[in-house]
Subunit: 351 residues, 2 copies
DNA sequence: GCGCGTTCAGAAAGCGCTTTCTGAGGTACC
DNA sequence: GGTACCTCAGAAAGCGCTTTCTGAACGCGC
């Protein structure tokens, strides 16, 4: 490296491709071609460029690359709350898949605020994220759907990939779909088999597709067996541990008590379990309890929770995989993921 | 908007600042100034620019902004594993603080691979992240420390901010430090007060500063009371639920059994609790068990876990806050976070 | 031996912004 | 009324890359 070059480098702080090219005695174009393997370059020149890049420990400026080549090496992921074990599990899968593709993950938590979700999509668009992954169910709300589509359509038209986990009613994008209806139905049948006829449900906000699918699948399967859940045994609450606690507490206040309670997520079931304990209601002796998702911790509860197991990590990997795969020319791809009923000690035949 | 402009827009796909300027009939510079509030612009021009930007739903290209102004609106966060409740809790705090600053978070999981950690720092440098946050303890390893410093030093010299959570021996950066030693010592004293004299410890890899601090604090406090932990009652295992399970199982195989076991993290304690249950060892009747961190779930275990509570969310917010605050001219800032001993039903006086 | 087609390095034109520099127009003061 | 000064809009120069275009050098066939 010449002294002048050294000096420039010092006060410019970053090593640029220009520096590498100068050091190797080639043009900018050649240096770029070597480092990207874009096209054939004479062996000796290639060697020199590689050597210089190594010696100067050159790191390309991702922004410049993105701007010039419209490439970008980051994907955006939008979820409701990373600290919810469900999303944490999925995020883990997404990140390990991203690592394999050499991608960086920009993760945003909406804290369940639909407006913020749309805001984040805009930010990710501004960042020219290679793909945007929507983790967590959509809202069944016309206005929201329209705004979301308004952000997503132009994004996709300009080459952005979009993939979602969970059903989004009106978004025509690649999707990984946990079989919420079927899983909940299978769970219902398993609980019927245990002898229960008297059910309660702790549910989250019905505007979430995940909630309505699980609730629908559960009640439909019961209906097929001629069993109906009285409206006063369905309690809606926040989609959290504390929501589950509140809902279960509320359920206990109702005049009659079911023999078996289904919480639409494990997280809510955890809260419900605590509420039952605090109220001296034994699980499963006084009431059976089942959840959905099979987040890791529920094995370790007392009693371990009956639930519908979803392969969270794998789901994350698959959404990421969908987004990285060459987009299908016309129609969106759907990958269904089955849930498996896992009977544990929190459910037992009714007394 | 003129027809020609409309046409350009259509095939360029993105609305650029140029489009906005043309639409508003002002220069590029003026449009930029209005949108950034950089300097005074005559009211009527400002109005026009704002109107055009709104009408065209202009979104600035973050890459172009970063390249031109060396700004960047993203921060990088490196943790070991998002699906670990400890990191998930911290990440949640980081993200809510980031949202307040209008920042996007790029989250990377190293899966505890030191090499990958350094690789991610390089990627985040390439992305010109405004700041890099290292969540999770450093490795006490000369080579690793050197490589990390080699990445971090030039990054900081060029204006990058770095902040860490947990102790990193030789990194001179802003830090949020959970008081691991003090917390573990306080826990030890609380357990001594319960009457225990016979302790066991389930520990993670000793090369992690967090582990050695907690272990050190615990044993030192015991030593002050004249109590010593026999080496065969200290079992090392992976820093996970299953590691805790394995370590507890191993501990039960040793010839003698302590009356009280300290797992250096709640996650390991959860595994230990399961192992004890599976081996017919009652907690706290046969053995008391304590953890560290107070991740949300431990309240809901049976029995609820005694632990040292750390404000995970707040820690995340503070680390982000440090990174956003104007860097201190010379020395690095340290914010200490105290842990609070929370006695729950998993500990009781020895029989 | 000359024209033609290849191959591959270099020059240069952007990508979409920010910011400095330039200069026009207005105000204040002598 | 003219000079000096200030304010603020526009022109233009990058930021660090990728990629097209240009052209030199070479090999081939007739």
């Amino acid at each position: 490296m010449t002294e002048a070059a050294e000096e420039r480098r010092a006060d410019r702080a970053y090593v640029t491709l220009q520096d590498v090219a100068r050091d190797a005695g080639v043009s900018l174009a050649t240096a770029s071609r070597v480092l990207n393997g874009t096209s054939q370059v004479r062996a000796d020149l290639r060697e020199r460029v590689l050597a210089s890049a190594g010696r100067l420990s050159y790191t390309p400026n991702a922004h410049a690359q993105a701007l010039a080549g419209s490439s970008s090496t980051s994907v955006g992921v939008i979820c409701h709350d990373v600290s919810d074990p469900y999303f944490a599990g999925v995020a883990r899968g997404v990140m390990s898949a991203a690592a394999e593709h050499g991608m960086l993950v920009m993760l945003a938590s909406t804290f369940r605020d639909p407006a913020r979700e749309i805001e984040y999509v805009a930010m990710l668009r501004a960042q020219r994220a290679r793909a945007i992954l929507l983790i967590g169910s959509g809202f069944e709300d016309r206005g929201w759907e329209r705004s979301m589509a308004a952000e997503l359509d132009p994004y996709q038209r300009t080459g952005g990939r979009v993939a979602v986990l969970s059903r989004h009613r009106s978004l025509k994008v690649d999707a990984v779909l946990p079989q919420n209806r079927e899983g909940a139905a299978a769970l219902a049948r398993a609980l019927l088999d245990l002898g229960h006829r008297d059910f309660g449900v702790l549910t989250g906000p019905l505007a979430l597709t995940t909630v309505s699918d699980r609730l629908g699948g559960f009640t439909d399967a019961l209906a097929d067996a001629g069993v109906r859940i009285p409206p006063e045994h369905v309690v809606e609450a926040a989609f959290t541990r504390d929501g589950g606690y509140a809902a279960a507490t509320e359920l206990l206040r109702r005049p009659t008590r079911p023999t078996c309670v289904f919480a639409v997520t494990d997280v809510m079931a955890i809260g419900a379990l605590a509420a039952f304990r605090d109220n001296g209601v034994a699980v499963p002796d006084d009431v059976s309890l089942a959840g959905f998702d099979d987040i890791p911790i529920v094995r370790d509860l007392t009693p371990p929770l009956t639930t519908v197991a979803l392969p969270l990590n794998e789901m994350g990997e698959r959404v990421m995989g969908l987004a990285m795969r060459e987009p299908s020319p016309r129609r969106s791809r759907i990958e269904r993921v089955a849930g498996e009923v896992v009977l544990r000690a929190s459910t037992a035949p009714p007394r």
